[in-house]
C-alpha cells in the first residue's frame, strides 16, 4: 500500500510476465497488487518509475509499455549492476516495489498530424517503444511513421516479437540494422546514423524522437540536421543516475535543471542550452 504522505513508500506489484529480450536484457510486466492502484494508475509515454527489489535497492526505469494498453506496466532492464542482477533473478509471481510515474513525457499532443521518425539504439528503444505503441494505438492521429532501430549484433535487438506488428501497421516503415551481422541475419549491416542518412526521411512536418547509446546520438544528431530537422523538431530522453526521482536527493541535475522533474524528455533545443554535463 502506498502512503500518500511518505514519498518513498512504493506500491507493490507482482511480476506477471518476463520476456528474455536478449542475453542481458529482460522486459518485465508488472501488475499492481492493490486493485485501486490498478484502476487509478495512469502515465504518459516518456515517464519513468523507480523499481525496487526489496532488500537490494531501487533503480530508475522508463516505462516501456504504452498507457493505451491498460492493466499493467512494463519496463526493460539490462543486467549491469546489483539491482538489475537481482531483477534478473526474479521469477514470475514475485513482488517488486514501484514508485511513480515521474518526470515529464513525450509531447504527443504536439506530434499529432505530423510524420514521426523514431531512431533507437539498443536498450534506448525502451522509452521509444512506449511512445511508438501509443501512436500506433492511435494511428489516425499521426502521419507517416519511420522506425530506425539498431543494435550491436542481431542477438542484441530487443522487442523482436513486435517487429511484425510495427512493420505491418498502416503507413509505417521499420528499418532494422546491426553494427555487426551474424549467422541467419539477412538484414542491413551498418550503424543507425548511416542508415538514416541512406533512407533520408523527410523533415517537413516531422518530429524525430531518438534514444540510444551516447555514441549513436552523437552521430545521429548531425544526420538529422542535414535532413533539415531543426533543434525543436528533435526530441530525446536522457538517462541519469537517480535515486529519489522527485527532485530531493540532488543527484540528477544538469545546471539548474533536474532530469527527474524537468525531464527526462528534452528537445535538442533545450539540451543545447544546458551545460554539457550528461
Amino acid at each position: 500500500m502506498s502512503d500518500a504522505g511518505n514519498l518513498y513508500v512504493p506500491n507493490l506489484a507482482v511480476i506477471d510476465r518476463i520476456v528474455e529480450e536478449t542475453w542481458d536484457t529482460r522486459t518485465f510486466r508488472a501488475v499492481f497488487t492493490d486493485a485501486g492502484m490498478r484502476e487509478r494508475f495512469s502515465y504518459h509515454p516518456g515517464q519513468f518509475q523507480e523499481v525496487s527489489v526489496f532488500g537490494v535497492g531501487e533503480a530508475t526505469f522508463c516505462l516501456a509499455s504504452s498507457p493505451t494498453r491498460t492493466g499493467y506496466v512494463e519496463f526493460s532492464a539490462k543486467k549491469v549492476g546489483a539491482l538489475t542482477s537481482a531483477l534478473h533473478e526474479l521469477s514470475e509471481g514475485e513482488t517488486v516495489g514501484i514508485r511513480g510515474p515521474y518526470g515529464n513525457w513525450f509531447p504527443y499532443d504536439m506530434m499529432q498530424g505530423k510524420n514521426l521518425l523514431f531512431v533507437g539504439g539498443g536498450i534506448g528503444m525502451a522509452p521509444l517503444r512506449s511512445l511508438l505503441n501509443f501512436c500506433l494505438d492511435r494511428r489516425g492521429d499521426y502521419g507517416h511513421i519511420d522506425i530506425f532501430y539498431g543494435a550491436r549484433t542481431p542477438g542484441d535487438l530487443c522487442y523482436t516479437k513486435e517487429f511484425e506488428a510495427w512493420r505491418s501497421a498502416p503507413d509505417t516503415s521499420l528499418y532494422l540494422t546491426v553494427d555487426k551481422g551474424g549467422p541467419g541475419w539477412e538484414g542491413k549491416v551498418g550503424v543507425v546514423p548511416a542508415y538514416v542518412r541512406e533512407i533520408a526521411p523527410a523533415s517537413r512536418n516531422a518530429v524525430a524522437i531518438t534514444c540510444g547509446p551516447p555514441i549513436m546520438i552523437k552521430f545521429t544528431l548531425p544526420e538529422l540536421g542535414k535532413l533539415g530537422f531543426s533543434d525543436e523538431q528533435i526530441i530525446t530522453t536522457l538517462e541519469m543516475k537517480m535515486k529519489c526521482g522527485v527532485g530531493k536527493c540532488g543527484r540528477c541535475n544538469i545546471g539548474h535543471t533536474y532530469v527527474c522533474l524537468d525531464g527526462p524528455v528534452f528537445t535538442y533545443a533545450q539540451l543545447r542550452k544546458l551545460p554539457p554535463e550528461f
Binding site: 525496487s52 537490494v56 543527484r251
Partner: protein, 340 residues
C-alpha cells in the same frame, strides 16, 4: 521588540520544565569536547555559550541515516511499514542564526520544489528553534557575506543573547512565546536591550564581507580555471557537505535482514566520485573539477536561479573542516574577481 531575561542559574530548571511537555535537543559536549545537538536528559548540561558548534541541527531534520520504510517477508510475499510521524513537539536550543537560516534553504528543496517531503516536513512542523547569538565568529565564518548576521532572527522562535550572568531573550513568534510561559523570566529592560544590540553590532563588525554574493551568482562560469585550481587538491571526501547545514543530497539503500529489511536514506555528496556514476559506468562528472564546479555552482548560482537565494548561510564549517584548506571564501573571492 518584546523580550525577557533569564538568569543563567535558572536555565536548568527552565529546561526541566520544557522536558515535561517537549522533547528537548541542545548542544552537549561529547567525547574529545566535540559539541553536537543531542536530546537532553533531565540533568544533562547544555552548552549555551562559545563558538558555533561543528555539527548543526540539520541532522534533526535530515538525519544522517533515516528509515524510509521497513519490509517484512520475501519477494514471494511482502508487506511494507512506513515509519510513524513524530508525535511529540521538539525544541532545539542553542541554534545559531546561520543554521536557522539554513533550514529555510532546506525548506526550498524539501517543501517547495514540486512534492512535499513529509518526513522532513513533519519534523519541521513539530520543531521550535531557540536561537543563540554568536559573540565571536569561528575562524571560518562568513555569514555577513551571504546576507546573514551572527544575531539574525530569520527562522527562529526565540533568540538568546548572552549578557554575562543572564540571557536577553527576544520573542520572535507565538511558538516561541509558548516556550517561556512560566516563572523565571523578567521583562527585559532598556539596558538589557541595548547591551544585546551592542553585542550583536560588535559581532557583525568583526566580520566584514569576504565577497559579494550577488556578484558571484553572475560571475559563476562553466569554463573558468578556478575549478581546476581547487579541484587539484580536493580529496573528494564528504567533510564539507556533511557538515554543511544546507547540503541535503542523499542516497537510498536497502539493508536486508533474515526476514525482511529496511530501506533508508543516508547523507551523500556530489563530491564523491561515484555520485553520478551510472550502472553501466558512464559518469557525467568524471573528475574532481566537474564536482567542485557542481558544488559551488549549485549553491551560488543554480539555487539562486531557482529560488532567488543561495544554498549557503556562511556558517564556515566547510572552511574549517576541509583537510586541504579549500576555503569557500577564497574560492568565491576568486570567482567574483575571475582570477586564476
Amino acid at each position: 521588540m518584546e523580550a525577557v531575561v533569564l538568569n543563567k542559574s535558572d536555565v536548568t530548571s527552565w529546561v526541566r520544565g520544557l522536558l515535561a511537555s517537549y522533547r528537548v535537543v541542545g548542544p552537549t559536549s561529547a567525547a574529545e569536547g566535540v559539541v553536537h545537538y543531542t536530546p537532553l536528559a533531565e540533568d544533562g548540561p547544555v552548552v549555551l555559550d562559545g563558538l558555533r558548534p561543528i555539527r548543526s541541527p540539520k541532522e534533526h531534520f535530515i538525519p544522517a541515516t533515516e528509515t524510509l520504510l521497513a519490509f517484512h517477508g520475501t519477494a514471494k510475499a511482502i508487506s511494507l511499514e512506513a515509519p510513524p510521524a513524530p508525535t511529540r513537539e521538539t525544541v532545539i536550543l542553542g541554534v545559531r542564526s546561520c543554521d536557522a537560516r539554513a533550514l529555510t534553504r532546506l525548506d526550498d528543496v524539501f517543501l517547495k520544489r514540486k512534492e512535499t517531503d513529509s518526513l522532513y516536513g513533519n519534523r519541521r512542523k513539530t520543531t521550535r528553534l531557540v536561537g543563540l547569538a554568536c559573540e565571536s565568529p569561528s575562524w571560518g565564518c562568513f555569514c555577513t557575506s551571504v546576507g546573514g548576521s551572527p544575531a539574525a532572527s530569520e527562522g527562529l522562535d526565540l533568540l538568546f543573547t548572552d549578557l554575562g550572568d543572564r540571557y536577553h531573550i527576544a520573542i520572535l513568534s507565538e511558538a516561541g512565546r509558548e516556550l517561556i510561559a512560566g516563572a523565571g523570566f523578567a521583562a527585559a529592560t532598556d539596558a538589557d536591550a541595548s547591551a544585546a544590540k551592542a553585542q550583536h553590532a560588535a559581532a557583525v563588525d568583526r566580520m566584514p564581507p569576504f565577497f559579494d554574493a550577488k556578484a558571484v551568482a553572475e560571475k559563476v562560469e562553466w569554463d573558468a580555471p578556478v575549478w581546476m585550481h581547487y579541484a587539484k587538491r580536493c580529496l573528494a571526501c564528504g567533510a564539507c557537505s556533511f557538515l554543511c547545514p544546507t547540503c541535503h543530497c542523499f542516497d537510498i539503500q536497502d539493508d536486508a535482514t533474515a526476514d525482511g529489511g529496511v530501506r533508508f536514506r543516508c547523507w551523500d555528496t556530489c563530491q564523491f566520485g561515484d555520485f553520478t556514476r551510472m550502472g553501466a559506468g558512464h559518469n557525467p562528472r568524471q573528475t574532481q573539477k566537474e564536482r567542485v564546479r557542481q558544488r559551488v555552482s549549485h549553491k551560488f548560482k543554480y539555487l539562486v536561479e531557482e529560488f532567488g537565494r543561495q544554498g549557503c548561510t556562511g556558517c564556515g564549517r566547510c572552511v574549517e573542516a576541509c583537510p586541504v584548506n579549500i576555503d569557500l571564501r577564497q574560492v568565491l573571492h576568486d570567482v567574483e574577481g575571475a582570477k586564476r
